[in-house]
Symmetry: C2
Subunit: 315 residues, 2 copies
């Protein structure tokens, strides 16, 4: 009857989508993290990282997955503990919401062992605590789409309010992750504190256009509305050959191209899966030939379901 074991997949996400800085995010199918949770007799969270990674904290106190699991156990006080194993399959510091995927995988897994005590929407507040631990701020633009799937709008942070944008059709995305390090903190600190009102107006015209395009299935409108004149120009400096990579994406048929989250991954919107592969290859080639940087690419439709249970065992 009661679940004793669960294995959960939580997907990567592209935050910002260009103009929608800090408010929009979309879930893709891969990459993603896998979180394994088992009931134990001893109370509390017993955390393990399946493979040691240089930049992933391996302790219960510092790892986001263990942290959010512990918060849930503290609140619901079940008569059991949890052995939590994180299979970190996502690249770290890639701009693809790696910490959010780990947190989301953990909250979904723990909720399964708690007999689905909470609805998905109620899990978000725990998942964003992982983001707070990772970056100092409870950002939801990666966590929400990883949890809910599709495109999510963080309409408000105080109070936290997420709107799932009902998108009209499948959009296809390609993400290219160059092997360079961009620190989220640096990517934030490089941004201006103030921006011209006229530029902000241009940006929210684009954000509205992006929203209309997503809801009407208008790929061309989404692509051009991704234009970001406020954040991308600053962050582009942290990514070698960004301008050339973007030009290559657009000249190979991308409807739009921008930085995924705080980078260094660069994403493009493609008219089909097939074209997404062509665009991604062109982008990788430029990273290699111009910046002499290795990269990998992920091609994917929009992930409409978010995190899901791969396997579970009852006891």
């Amino acid at each position: 009857m009661t679940k004793k074991y669960v294995l959960v997949y939580a997907p990567a996400t592209i935050a910002n989508l260009g103009s929608g800085y800090d408010v929009l995010g979309v879930a893709i199918e891969k990459p993603g993290d896998i979180v394994e949770a088992k009931r134990t007799l001893e109370p509390g969270v017993h955390f393990t990282l399946s493979t040691i990674h240089e930049n992933v904290p391996a302790t219960s106190r510092k790892n986001v997955a263990a942290h959010v699991a512990a918060l849930m156990l503290e609140e619901f006080k079940p008569p059991f503990g949890i052995k939590l194993t994180l299979h970190k399959h996502m690249p770290i510091g890639s701009g693809l919401g790696s910490s959010a995927a780990s947190s989301v995988g953990a909250v979904v897994a723990v909720n399964e062992l708690l007999q689905k005590k909470l609805r998905r929407s109620e899990l978000l507040r725990f998942a964003v605590e992982g983001e707070r631990l990772a970056s100092g701020s409870p950002h939801a633009d990666n966590a929400a789409p990883s949890l809910f799937g599709g495109v999510c709008l963080v309409r408000s942070y105080t109070p936290l309010e997420v709107v799932q944008i009902p998108i009209q059709k499948t959009f296809f995305w390609v993400v290219v992750h160059p092997h360079v390090i961009v620190k989220t903190k640096e990517a934030r600190s490089i941004l201006p504190k103030n921006v011209p009102l006229a530029s902000a107006v241009r940006q929210w015209g684009n954000v509205s256009g992006l929203t209309v395009g997503l809801m009407t299935g208008n790929v061309a409108l989404v692509g051009k509305s991704m234009e970001d004149t406020l954040v991308e120009p600053f962050r582009a400096k942290l990514i070698p050959a960004f301008d050339e990579v973007k030009r290559a994406a657009l000249s190979h048929g991308a409807a739009g191209c921008s930085i995924s989250g705080s980078g260094p991954s660069v994403f493009a919107l493609a008219p089909s899966l097939k074209q997404a592969r062509v665009i991604g290859k062109a982008m990788r080639d430029v990273f290699q030939s111009v910046a002499h940087v290795e990269s990998e690419m992920y091609v994917s439709a929009t992930n409409m379901n978010g995190a899901y249970v791969i396997d579970s065992g009852k006891g």
Copy 2:
């Protein structure tokens, strides 16, 4: 066969809708301007204002309706002239797109006499020339909805690109026009040149929420997403008792309330026409009792069609 005479109604519009400063506008059913156009043998535009108004230019060179009509005749060089009469039924300087309604009425009327040479979407570039004459800048956030109806997004000004937002259901609006003067130029000059990036992010989260709400028929989401923390606080100072009027609107059931265009009109989103009247009365009462200012109110569903031909005669 050919039209010799046409009478056109062009509606008022609520620009900005709170957070969508300079990019969003909605057409309402009333008030509006009426433009009458008749073929004449003499070439050129012969302009008359049916009633003299203190703040409406009465000459061909300065009146927006005559100006846009003349531009169309210059471009298409028909073998006739036009006697153009503007019946100015809209309040001037009210923040309801009075000059846009006059321009739109004129371009639609002239296009009828030109045998509908242009599609509606092609008329916009003439209508915004009226806005340029009136305010120095070719704003489209009033002209587009007056011309097309519904809710329009000015996604980009360079180049001019308008997106008609497919709204899901009829929304109900009440506009209260207090009898005070707000100069558009002052309403613009009072705004800061730069704004905090964090506030701009909050604003475009709201603009996206507004767009989703309009397209899904979610009145509550539209209402709260109208929140404007960047422009309204400055312009509110130009409107006596604005804060009290807004509070009255919200406490009488408005889903949201903000300044129409550059003011002084204040509009609210209502759940029904009946409630719109209740809300409008409460707003007028506060203008009267707190600011000792007379006002009139307009209650209306969204105008889904924009400007239309009332009457025409063939020759």
